[in-house]
Amino acid sequence: MVRKYFAYLFEILKYYDVQPLLLFWSFSDILNNQVLWTTPLYWQELGQPNTYYLYAAYLLVSIGIFISMYSIKRCCMFVSAYLFLTLFSTIRYIVSLLSDPESSFDLIAVKSLTITFFYLFIWVWIWLKLKQEMLSRTIKN
């Protein structure tokens, strides 16, 4: 029974389309973006002035995904950009964990790393699904 359930989950991941998820996700990402709710000053005070611009890049890419839903090729370009930003954030976090002598692998760091890697995995999966769809369309034509 449990095995069947996981097989079904695997089938969902393998065969179902990602566009509805992407649509809701990008919409929620736009609304949740920190650029809309904070100012650069807020991030400067936190000692992370670049984070504001990183969020701005996320906002632009999310808007790009939202408005390019009609074309898989364009949407895939924006998803690639989003994946790159997620990858960049993940690597940046790991690098800061490793290079900063004050930071350590405590429970919070492990939790943050898990969440970051989970997001990275989801975006890699979405990117692969879109790319695969494009590839199969090319092969069919």
């Binding site: 790159f84 990858l87 960049f88 690597i91 690098v95 800061s96 790319k131």
Partner: protein
């Protein structure tokens, strides 16, 4: 080295390797699909050849059937003639004995 530069370099290397892996996968999938298409074309050619051969054999069978009918007809004529000849022969034999 500055953490930002390290991050950029590591990100670029990851993107390059990821892109390369995708290109390799794409190449493999395309090749597999082309091989499949080629195999299907070969199978279609073989099937077309079989169809033309069956057509030819069907035509041959028709002409053979016609020839067989002719032979049957001739055979029937010959056997009827033979029956008459045997009867005539028997009559002649009886006449000669008498």
């Amino acid at each position: 080295m500055d953490a930002n530069i390290t991050t950029i370099i590591v990100s670029l290397i990851t993107v390059l390797f990821g892109g390369g892996a995708w290109k390799f996968y794409e190449f493999m999938v395309k090749k597999k699909s082309e091989d499949k298409k080629e195999k299907r074309t070969e199978q279609t050619m073989y099937r077309d050849d079989l169809i033309s051969r069956v057509d030819k054999l069907e035509n041959d069978r028709e002409s053979c059937n016609k020839a067989l009918m002719e032979i049957n007809k001739d055979m029937a004529i010959v056997s009827t003639k033979l029956q008459f000849l045997e009867k005539e022969n028997n009559i002649l034999k009886i006449k000669l004995q008498g």
